[in-house]
Symmetry: D2
Subunit: 337 residues, 4 copies
């Protein structure tokens, strides 16, 4: 940690800061410049809250040297993590495709879509039983009945299943059905929920919050991991920007940034990232080429009558065509699909 003192800082203020740092267990190394004094503070105190130091008199800024996350970062864990979802490995050479409808509407719908996406090469089935909707008047999902349908679809296809959990009270129930839990973008900083899923033994897909910097996203992963559950997969699904042509703006470089800073796998969701089925193939292709460890794509047999997110869902036929293209790109970057 480095403390930058104001150019007007008095000798007394500098001494006061040094004393405080020593009391906190740091070794201090003051460097006196022409205008300003800086104090280097040695000691791995990332787990201690240092923001209070900014309030001491004469302080201009406090610059951390160590990352604030430990379990999620590359500093201590160098090897890329592989997360095993009931036999499907995420974070290996193979780029894994999650596919399925936004919301679970009926057994016929889900099983039909599941068979189709499996035939096209998808490895994990997604489907919402509890739906976060911006309007209280929208369809909110079939809840437990939806979980039962998902289970049936798994039995029929062998695909592991993932669904979103939105409420701490539902974590136990949902965990008893699915192979992987999903935390939605709007709950990325729902710390109670992060803690609760951290206490399960289910792999967790953690979507990036709409206004979360990569560092905040990794801190959310740290929340889950600090409870003992280290099977976290990150999912880039677009951030909020001023652009209105797409629902969100996908941050494709985040694939490389996350790979630099963290050992956790990262996948991309082109459906929420764009909000329009016509733009899904472009972003899906880009994500595979960028080196994402997988994709999550919304597929619906009848988007015109979907109960949720129809405009961003592609049909099984479009999905099949897209998968062929993605496989070729995957090969071109020495991965497989």
């Amino acid at each position: 940690m480095i403390i930058i003192m104001k150019d007007r800082a008095s000798t007394e203020q500098i001494t006061q800061m040094e004393t405080r740092l020593k009391n906190l267990g740091f070794q201090t190394h003051p460097i006196v410049g022409e205008f300003k004094t800086i104090i280097g503070a040695i000691g791995d105190k990332r787990l201690v809250d240092m923001e209070a130091l900014k309030t001491l008199p004469g302080v201009e800024d406090v610059v951390p040297i160590m990352k604030p996350y430990k379990l999620a970062g590359r500093e201590l864990i160098k090897e890329k993590t592989q997360v095993n979802v009931s036999g499907v490995t995420i974070g290996g050479k193979r780029q894994v495709v999650f596919a399925g409808p936004c919301a679970i509407e009926s057994e016929e719908q889900v099983v039909g879509i599941a068979k189709a996406v499996k035939a096209s090469g998808a490895s994990i089935l997604r489907g919402g039983a509890f739906k976060p909707r911006t309007s209280p008047y929208s369809f909110k999902g079939l809840a437990k009945e939806g979980l039962e349908i998902l289970k049936t679809a798994r039995e029929e296809t062998g695909l592991p299943i993932i669904t979103e959990v939105m409420d701490t009270r539902d974590v136990e129930l949902v965990s008893s059905y699915v192979d992987m839990l999903q935390i939605g973008a709007r709950n990325m900083q729902n710390f109670s929920l992060l803690t609760e899923v951290g206490r399960t033994n289910k792999p967790v897909l953690l979507k990036r919050g709409l206004s979360a910097r990569v560092e905040e996203w990794l801190m959310a992963a740290e929340y889950i991991m600090s409870e003992g559950n280290e099977n976290v997969v990150l999912c880039e699904r677009g951030i909020t920007t001023f652009e209105t042509a797409t629902r969100n703006t996908v941050d494709i470089a985040a694939v490389a940034v996350v790979n630099e800073l963290s050992h956790l796998p990262i996948i991309v969701d082109p459906s929420h990232a764009t909000g329009h089925s016509k733009y899904v193939p472009c972003v899906a292709r880009a994500a595979i080429a960028a080196g994402a460890d997988g994709l999550m794509i919304e597929v619906h047999n009848d988007p015109q009558n979907a109960m949720c997110d129809g405009p961003q869902s592609i049909t099984p036929g479009q999905f099949d065509e897209l998968m062929g293209r993605l496989a070729a790109i995957s090969g071109a970057v020495d991965r497989s699909l």
Copy 2:
């Protein structure tokens, strides 16, 4: 609602859309232009999900005419709402100040601050018992013990108390202690939590999400109101932008925008909006002049040793000085403080 058809849309596609709209209960009014056809659809269907219409062939865009919120909007409820918090009216002529520490640390701390801010003119005491923290290693609050301390502070000062609730499982407990519930910015779209507080009879302070447009914020209020709890107060606390000099960027015009679109009271939180105590007075003054119905300000007796958000907390002495200034501005805009 207006449906804009693509310039390449066929007569058949236009007929198909008209049929669908009629089946949904709309009267249709097609207008044929040189390049494009538009269809006006009459009927108040704001409660029905219309996004699926965008997926029909030949459709370029769907433009809603009615606002998606009903209970939170000005279209049906013209009069400004006044929310009563145990005798304190929010939304009237008087601009109401909420003050107190970020986190509850001890009875001595909270009671001391409570007495001080009351003496300076604050009307409601704030203090966090459950703290949402971006790092899992930070202090997360005293939980139930904190609620007890808040209760004591109310007994000693007579100030109504507000605290944040983060978990659906805590809503009942927290409601049994406080006069008003707070939903934090990171939970603005935690729909389970919105639903749960909507089922209590406690007034709710709903902070704006970090990437929420005013419309999304009003939809979150609608969630609470649609459960029967219409005592919602909005709190602007800064949004996420590219600027890094402040923690967030306060959207001061939101005070006027909310007053245009909604009948709900709106207050401003200059502490989270800026993240630096030195900038708090500037934004507090601006908010009072802008016409906010109140302020929420973090006050700590010893910011250098605060367990949370020390850098953005002002001292009781600074608060007292600020209140004098704010009272003068309040008078200049025909309000009182």
Copy 3:
């Protein structure tokens, strides 16, 4: 165009609006709903400024139906445009790579880099003679001497050359040297400059402004085209967002959005988009897979001693390796490199 009247709008206000629209040459089609009246206005008036209509009493909103751009849009020009830069076609099957140093430093440097990037498959040489720098104390380029060096590099390699022009007074000079003019992101709405390059017969590369929506970007292209120069190529180079891990956030979906809305070719600049050489390959691969018509990549023989943008420049060796990878991806999307 559709005029949405407020629910409180009087009959008189509606009549007044209809009269005004008719005077402007529109046919009007009022539709009276339960709460609001809307007026459909038929007539292609995209070239007339309609915002004043919003100020009429009783008006809630004015919704345009036609796009505000005409020459840059797909509505009237359906075929993809191909721009010819001294024999290199942009917008065809082949994805075209522009490469070269950020700033021109010396003949030796530029000619050396030019030969290297040509050998690796680049088609156009870039290099800055006039540099926009955020600090007035930074190196601002060699100006005319830089243009001479670029010319020499073209003679030595046969590569067409492109450089940025920043000042209306330099357009004539720069045009006399180069094969293509570049408008930088910070000048995307420098309307005098757009007008001036629109009067030349040189192809123009128009970088997206840091806070420009796609629609505003296309309007900037319209500026150039409305002066008679229709050889415009768009360049996505990242937009300003809250993320700080990269210099900007590249909007990869913009490749698909532009292809939907416009017939103009679009390329991507991964160097400015990320600001770090280590992230350049990720975004370059993504752009090729997304379907961009080309790339612009900063290459420097000695990034540690570059006079500008060293941290985002890759070396000729890295460029060569990257090109091999890109060619494979290009093939996988049925293009060539």
Copy 4:
């Protein structure tokens, strides 16, 4: 300056960095921590471009200690600057109001508005002769004829005049007419233009760019000042964010941030910040209370027929009413209007 080396940095890399820093004239102070080494580098090198250091092997980050601006900052110039515009002082106790139409349309219009706003207390007359318009088909201003009209209005009212200059070729002409030059938001990083107005002796109003951090804005001021013209006034006019209810989002805290970092005066433009006349009073009141050194407000006698920005213009009557309110607020913050 502080260099943070990667935890994997070798001793050789650290030595190499130290050597390089010494060659650049710095004294170096290495501090070896458990995981990382940091190097403190002493010496005021803010005028040297240090980004190349980031490209050296083993470097994680380079943290500047000194601000990159010198003339615009508070580090060397402690006293608040007062800018004199033909007798009107900006930056003193009095908060100065600039008012007038967006575009100059006729002598009758401008002189009429000028007389009205002067009577209400405005001190400087604004009016556009050269208009930056996002559409090439919009009215672009009367150019020289507009300057003549402005001059007449000054003769008739005694108000100093300000107008925007957009093109380096027009700087001399415009300077010969007006009392103050305006640089528009879209030209904030038009470095040729900044340099050119820096060579005049006219005070300059520098609008904040739509995606400019405060630091970038101050660097733009530094550009002008480094040419010898230190009479720069900053103007906050809203930044681009995701919110669409207003044209831009005004950053009201920037008033305090600028006062902390710079000695230059700062005013606020509520018209462009909001884009709607109905929201102008709210932001104008907020800016006066926040402590801005003035306001720039668009006033038009007939907004419904304005040739530019009608929706955000208020009438002389509304302006007069607003000024009364603003004077009261100004008094409440110990300023005058």
